[in-house]
């Protein structure tokens, strides 16, 4: 799978794009004393692709990233960059760029000196270092801050410097370890778009670790959802959202309402309404169906016909939409997402309609 790049690409001399590397993780296993952190991870990345590793704390996503960087060793399996097994290579020979979560800038060096550091390690001469570092800083919009020190910069600015520092050496692979987690919400959104833009311009194969599913969906070509040391599903953001492969993915990515249902063949009966089954299902019988809030509608009060009666618990205004929590007559709580112009009040009786989209199910315990 290749990434479509815009026709015009950045051609700043030191940072001219080149083909990103292919990356393959084959059956990667990592054991720590006592427990197995990675249980055989398989992932392949196409040149220039932006893949996010998404999952809750402890799922192993950071371990995968660090194994790829060389900061962690692996117990078994293979790590291939451009077809070559790099597991024997120490960190400093792997030609990767890495952005850490926080505190990675060297405090005693200026921003310019920080960015030049990688070039210095590669014995680039002083004049070229200066030019290339300046270009990298310009690329992240901080060209004027070269003489500052890390503690004089905001969190967002520090991460941009870290990005420039990682990219100035034109590495084959870019690794980002939750780079936005320590930042304010607004800065986070700004910076993630910038990272994506720069990455696309340069065509670098990128692995991005995050626990924020909205972030992962927004910037990635593909997302790999991880859980307990392995990848549950890899796919485009849309695929993950509309066709979750497991109940974990269904509940982790985006909001969904788990509702008791019955499965019979290809039909899932939810709240009395038959819906098509998404994918292939477990054996017939009691299941839990996952309905997205936007797949439930509030029918107008004077509409006739079958609908599911419910009482409004509370309605939240979220700017561009409303999310209303309702309680069914049997006590089940559901979230409904709808237009802002409809303003349900607590206690209102409403009727719910389900959109006909296929639903994912899992066996009900």
């Amino acid at each position: 799978m290749t990434v479509t790049r815009p026709a015009t690409t950045a051609t700043i001399s030191g940072l001219a794009p080149r083909e990103g590397a292919t990356v393959e993780l084959v059956n990667v296993v990592k054991d720590y004393a006592g427990h197995r952190a990675l249980t055989g991870v398989n992932l392949s990345m196409a040149p220039g692709e932006f893949i996010s590793l998404l999952g809750p704390s402890g799922c192993g996503k950071t371990t995968v990233l660090r194994a790829l960087s060389g900061l962690e060793s692996i117990s078994d399996g293979r790590i291939m960059i451009d077809g070559k097994d790099v597991a024997h290579q120490p960190v400093n020979k792997r030609d990767i760029g890495m952005v850490f979560q926080a505190y990675s800038l060297f405090p005693h060096l200026t921003v310019q000196q920080n960015v030049e550091f990688g070039l210095r390690m590669r014995k680039v001469d002083a004049a070229s270092r200066r030019t290339r570092a300046q270009e990298a800083l310009d690329m992240v919009g901080l060209g004027h801050l070269g003489e500052r020190y890390a503690h004089q910069l905001s969190g967002g600015q520090q991460q941009r410097v870290a990005l420039a520092r990682a990219l100035v050496t034109r590495p084959r692979v870019l690794l980002l370890d939750e780079p936005l987690s320590a930042l304010d919400a607004k800065v986070r959104v700004q910076l993630r778009d910038e990272i994506r833009r720069i990455q696309t311009d340069l065509g670098i194969t990128t692995l991005f670790v995050t626990h924020d599913q909205e972030e992962a969906l927004a910037v990635s070509d593909r997302v790999a959802v991880m859980r307990d040391g392995n990848i549950e599903q890899v796919g485009t953001p849309e695929d993950l959202y509309t066709q979750p492969a497991t109940s974990f993915v269904a509940t982790f990515v985006g909001l969904s309402n788990p509702v008791a249902a019955e499965l019979s063949g290809d039909t899932v009966t939810v709240l009395g309404i038959p819906l098509p089954l998404l994918g292939t299902g477990p054996r017939d019988g009691a299941v839990t169906a996952y309905i997205r809030p936007e797949d439930i509608a509030l029918a107008s009060p004077d509409a006739v016909g079958a609908g599911i009666p419910a009482t409004v618990v509370v309605s939240s205004f979220l700017g561009s939409l409303r999310r209303t929590q309702v309680r069914l007559d049997d006590g089940t709580l559901l979230f409904v997402q709808h237009d802002v112009l409809v303003r349900p009040a607590t206690g209102d009786r409403v009727t719910l309609e389900l959109a006909g989209r296929p639903v994912a199910v899992s066996v009900r315990e």
């Binding site: 597991a87 994918g279 477990p282």
Partner: protein, 306 residues
């Protein structure tokens, strides 16, 4: 079960295995890039330094176990000197030493009292009511390091001639001078504890729930300062027991001055007590260490930088 899309995008491991040879489990040494030393380096350094520093202590123990002069270059060992300490026949000879120990313990008690009754309340008071003075208080408690006891004692001599006229020249009066010397050591554990505990917020919470200041102090603040207070007291005891300069200049009989005196007549007893005192202080400080690593400052909020 739901079919997992996970495998659709992946490379077939069997195909890869067929084309590339398997090197087996990989171990990249972590220490190759970390700041930490390798295990070997660590062990070598610590063992060498550890042995060098143990030698004088072991020498003291060896010395105290010597019985008589060596005969034909062979030294006999035994506990004769240890037993001599408890022998009532020697009470006269060691009377000065035991008196010095008793005096030191008395000074300890009063110095600890000074810390608990003067320093601690003032520190809490400043923290709650006069946060701006925190720097001043810290400075005051650091002064005894800048003006060492050998200098201060030049001023203590005239001051204590006045004190002697008022209350007499008892050993316990020395506690006031030693209390000053102890300030830097006693200040730090309590200050670290105060910083870690956010006393202001807690007392505001207590007051908003209806507690008076006395109750806040007793039920909210002091229980949370237990570690710092205990550490402070232990350090105070250790400092007092090891104090020599002031006692020497004020011509008082304390543990350390008595030790030095008795060394001329009976070096064995001197060494025995020295070892015991060092071990005692070591155990005291070990206990402080186990009380918790509050010395590192705990959690500091940005307000701290007043």
């Amino acid at each position: 079960m739901i079919s997992s899309n996970a495998t659709a995008e992946l490379i077939d491991p069997a195909a890869v295995a067929a084309t590339t040879p398997s090197p087996g489990p990989i171990r990249v040494s972590r220490a190759r890039f970390a700041a930490e030393p390798s295990n070997l380096t660590r062990r070598v350094i610590l063992i060498v330094v550890g042995v060098v520093f143990l030698v004088p202590i072991l020498a003291m123990i060896e010395f105290s176990l010597r019985v008589g002069q060596p005969v034909k270059n062979v030294q006999t060992y035994g506990f004769a000197h240890y037993l001599a300490v408890f022998d009532p026949a020697n009470n006269q000879a060691y009377a000065n030493l035991f008196q010095g120990i008793a005096n030191s313990l008395g000074i300890c008690a009063i110095t600890v009292a000074i810390v608990l009754v003067l320093l601690l309340p003032t520190m809490i008071f400043v923290e709650l009511k006069f946060p701006r003075l925190r720097r001043v208080l810290e400075f005051i408690c650091i002064i005894p390091i800048t003006i060492p006891s050998i200098v201060l004692v030049v001023g203590f001599v005239p001051v204590y001639s006045v004190v002697a006229q008022i209350v007499g020249s008892y050993p316990w009066t020395m506690a006031f001078a030693v209390g000053i010397i102890v300030l830097p050591y006693a200040y730090r554990p309590i200050a670290a504890n105060l910083a870690a505990v956010e006393v202001v917020v807690l007392s505001e919470a207590g007051r908003s729930l209806g507690a008076g200041w006395g109750q806040v102090l007793l039920r909210v603040i002091l229980p949370n300062l237990r570690r710092g207070i205990l550490a402070s007291c232990f350090i105070t005891v250790a400092v007092v027991l090891g104090e020599y300069t002031i006692a020497s200049f004020l011509s008082q009989n304390t543990f350390q001055t008595a030790l030095l005196l008795v060394q001329h007549t009976d070096p064995y007893v001197a060494v025995i007590f020295a070892v015991l005192a060092l071990v005692f202080a070591f155990v005291l400080l070990l206990l402080i260490g186990r009380l918790g690593s509050l010395r590192r400052g705990g959690t500091r909020l940005s307000r701290r930088s007043a």
